[in-house]
């Protein structure tokens, strides 16, 4: 495992600047979440990292050398499990595409079914699985390719909240066990805090890095931590960073405390975020 650095990525589609200046650093075993407003270019960032689009500027370095094609394993938002393949064959797809024989690819994928909670479903078809199981199968398909960094694009976005919480706990455990390096796109601040070592906040389009928040909570993370003060403080900091007004390009970051309406008082003690006008009159 090596250190991956993303430096000064910029991308413009036609006349629409999407990424202005995005830099990241991921040491082996890091879990980094990327949050930002909708449409801010997070998916474009992942497309560049996954090799689906070329940046206009900037570079991706692995231990100082330019990354070649097999650095990132990409898990898109949709599970994209193919109905004509069994779960085992879906899981082995990446290896087959890379040129491995089907039998060898299956043998590589099979041992992961147990830790992924999919044992016994090797021969099932995707439509026979629940939403959570489908996401785990999609993650398995990504992981088995053995890339340096996993790119997870809102993997739990389509799940109901109970299933999602379960998946987050599961991911926390299985990640520790296998020592993956992960970049996660999410809209869910709590998910970002719960899973990450660092959370990168992007500004609105064209995206640049607004803030990097270290999450100093101990590992392994548990559901109980969600109510601890450190957790709440991290959530508040992220929320404030997200809600900063956009800055003119060229200006540096303003004082994050400046806008009064973004005080952390808006948070309930249980960690829920309430920004509705009905709450504004509260003491």
């Amino acid at each position: 495992m090596r250190e991956v650095r993303v430096e000064g990525l910029a991308k413009t589609y036609g006349t629409l600047p999407v990424l202005a200046d995005v830099s990241l650093r991921a040491a082996p075993g890091d879990f980094i979440s990327i949050i930002g407003p909708s449409g801010c270019g997070k998916s474009t960032l992942f497309n560049i990292l996954a090799g689906l689009a070329a940046p206009d500027a900037g570079q991706v370095l692995v231990d100082g050398a330019p990354a070649e094609g097999r650095t990132f394993g990409y898990m898109p938002q949709k599970d994209l499990l193919f109905p004509w393949r069994t779960i085992l064959d879906n899981a082995a797809l990446g290896l087959e595409v890379a040129g491995m024989r089907r039998r060898a690819a299956r043998d590589r994928a099979r041992p992961l079914f147990e830790p992924f909670g999919l044992a016994g479903f090797e021969r099932a078809h995707p439509f026979e699985l629940s939403g959570g199981m489908r996401q785990r199968a999609a993650l398995l398909r990504t992981v088995v390719q053995d890339r340096e960094v996993l790119l997870l694009d809102e993997p739990f976005g389509a799940l109901d909240s109970l299933t999602r919480t379960g998946m987050q706990e599961w991911l926390e455990g299985v990640r520790a066990r296998f020592g993956w390096t992960v970049l996660l796109i999410t809209h869910d601040i709590r998910e970002a805090v719960f899973l990450s070592d660092r959370v990168v906040v992007l500004g609105p389009r064209p995206a640049r890095v607004r803030r990097v928040v270290e999450i100093a909570l101990p590992r392994p993370r548990t559901v109980e931590m969600v109510t601890c003060p450190g957790f709440a403080a991290a959530e508040a900091e992220l929320l404030a960073a997200l809600r900063e007004p956009a800055v003119e390009p060229g200006l540096r970051e303003p004082d994050p405390r400046e806008p009064a309406q973004q005080e952390p008082e808006l948070r309930e003690p249980d960690g829920e975020v309430h920004a509705g006008p009905d709450r504004s009159g509260r003491p």
Binding site: L52, Y74, Q77, L80, L93, F127
Partner: protein, 255 residues
């Protein structure tokens, strides 16, 4: 089996009622058989001439098989070419559509002048009427691939060919079978039509000859045979589909 019976019962009942009404009408009004034979007479005379009808059915089946095979090869080749080359798509798809505006009824006699009474003109007619739905079905099937699925394949290191093989091709199969069903029903009528214009043997030319000698009953007997062939071929496509893409039916039942 029970399901098949439940599916077949209503149309069979309607057919039985229609035939009954027809039989009744002919008997009561004492219609001459040259004008309208009764269903019983059609069956009786058809059975009487079963050797001749069979001798004319075989060439029709052969022509249909060869013509449809040519059509499948053409349709697949064209669809794959078009899928790999946007330029060819722009160049060929309008021509495909234009090919369907050709009045076959005017072209078919010319084909006989050009290619004689052999297999070729019939194969051309069948291919002309059936390769269009197949090619279009496949082209749309390939194009219906989720962009994100294509991206996933590329992120795995797959090029265009692997994307085609692992995503576009299997994803297009349900479209293909729909197209196949449309095509195969056209194929039999296409064959009959081509033979009608000119042939040495076949159900089409048989109908033409019997019509000229006012054997309306035998024309209708040949029609029954034609319809039976079409229905059987149509049913066979489901069987093949079940074998080739077993996942499709299961997925549909789930949804």
């Amino acid at each position: 089996m029970r399901r098949a019976l439940a599916l077949a019962a209503p149309p069979l009942l309607v057919v039985a009622l229609l035939l009954g009404g027809w039989q009744w009408f002919v008997t009561v009004n004492d219609v001459r058989p040259q004008v309208l034979p009764s269903p019983l007479r059609v069956v009786e005379q058809g059975w009487e001439f079963r050797d001749v009808i069979w001798a004319n059915t075989v060439p029709t089946l052969q022509v249909t098989a060869v013509g449809f095979a040519v059509s499948l090869v053409l349709g697949w080749a064209l669809a794959i070419l078009v899928d790999f080359s946007p330029w060819l798509r722009r160049a060929l798809v309008p021509l495909l559509v234009a090919s369907q505006t050709l009045p076959i009824i005017a072209i078919a006699p010319l084909l006989i002048i050009w290619f004689g009474f052999g297999l070729l003109p019939k194969v051309v007619v069948i291919a002309l009427v059936t390769f269009f739905p197949i090619a279009i079905g496949l082209i749309e099937g390939f194009a219906s691939t989720d962009r994100e699925a294509s991206n996933l394949l590329r992120s795995m290191g797959g090029g265009r060919w692997k994307e085609f093989r692992y995503v576009r091709l299997p994803g297009a199969m349900p479209y293909f079978f729909t197209a196949l069903r449309i095509g195969i029903t056209y194929a039999v009528t296409g064959a009959i039509f081509a033979e009608y214009v000119g042939a040495r043997a076949g159900l089409g030319i048989f109908m033409n000859l019997q019509k000229n000698s006012f054997r309306t009953d035998l024309v209708l007997a040949a029609v029954v045979v034609t319809a039976t062939i079409s229905v059987v071929l149509f049913g066979l496509t489901y069987l093949v589909q079940r074998l080739v893409i077993p996942w499709h039916a299961k997925e549909r039942r789930r949804a």
